[in-house]
């Protein structure tokens, strides 16, 4: 089983910890967890390369999740890295926009570790 390097993007440090905890409770082996508090910080982390997965909130200051997602299209290091968007809003329009922009899935808060597992593991291919 491959250990994963993931990037969690959320303006709330508590939410970043909750997402990391849920990933571990879902049984994923994380070798490294990088954090960013907005899309601009996240973009800088992505450009360093080596990520297996990105989980990003949509509503954030500076650069929101949808803008971040669209920016990834031009980043070589982001190719093949699945992105899962996390939202509280319950807005179908924003979910559709995220999926159209390249997100591989989404999680709606609140979520359980089981729901995280259901959404995340199919995207990891042979990595898990």
């Amino acid at each position: 089983m491959k250990k994963l390097k993931v990037l969690i993007v959320d303006d709330s440090s508590v939410m970043r910890k909750i997402v990391e905890r849920a990933l571990r409770q879902a049984g994923l082996e994380l070798t490294e967890v990088l954090e960013a508090s907005n899309g601009a910080e996240a973009l800088a982390e992505v450009q360093k390369g080596g990520l297996d997965m990105i989980l990003s909130d949509i509503n954030m200051p500076v650069m929101d999740g949808l803008e971040f997602l669209k920016s990834l299209a031009g980043v070589e290091a982001a190719k093949g890295v699945p992105v899962i968007m996390i939202t509280t809003e319950g807005s179908e329009a924003r979910v559709v926009e995220a999926l159209s922009a390249g997100a591989k899935g989404y999680l709606r808060k609140p979520f359980t570790p089981e729901q995280v597992k259901e959404r995340v593991t199919p995207l990891l291919g042979g990595a898990q």
Binding site: V14, I18, P61, D64, E89, G90, R108, P110
Partner: protein, 164 residues
């Protein structure tokens, strides 16, 4: 939050007192999923909300107002411990942030259950107030719903305050 301006003149959704049941359901779901404990309705509660920690999330668009959660400091610490681990309970910052995130999720879960709100009502980032001696006033008339809950036997209030 950066998204208030993205909703173009949505039709206002009228306040409905029957939302109390929906707000209760939304809150119970959030606490059960995120903290692993199902709160109960505190049917014995008759007084005003008390407690040193209040989280608020603003709502704008088809519905304007705010959602609040209020509880004792120790209860907020308990939420943080359940969501993040025991060490978080003694960190005031984590306790407040945890309550803020719960409030955000309650507001989001509530609006996702109301037709026309999910796509037409935006939420602010949470604000957390510490202290008991305060009152909230708005420049617009409001209507409200208050849901008293018990979480592991401790009181917790969820409110929805809507500008009318």
């Amino acid at each position: 939050m950066s998204s208030f301006s993205k909703t173009a003149s949505p039709a206002a959704v009228a306040f409905d007192p029957s939302w109390k049941t929906i707000l209760e359901c939304a809150a119970v779901e959030v606490f059960e999923m995120m903290a692993g404990v199902r709160p109960e309705l505190n049917s014995a509660s008759t007084g005003e909300p008390t407690g040193e920690t209040t989280a608020m999330v603003g709502m704008a668009g088809a519905l304007c107002g705010m959602t609040t959660l209020r509880c004792a400091k120790a209860t907020a610490g308990r939420f943080a411990a359940l969501m993040l681990g025991e060490a978080a309970a003694s960190d005031p910052s984590s306790s407040g942030d945890a309550l803020g995130e719960l409030c955000n999720m309650v507001a989001g879960n509530f609006k996702s259950k109301i037709s026309n709100l999910a796509d037409h009502c935006m939420l602010s980032v949470p604000t957390v107030i510490t202290g008991q001696d305060y009152s909230m006033e708005t420049s617009e008339p409001t209507q409200g719903i208050l849901v008293p809950l018990l979480f592991e036997g401790q009181p917790l209030w969820v409110s929805l305050i809507i500008h009318t």
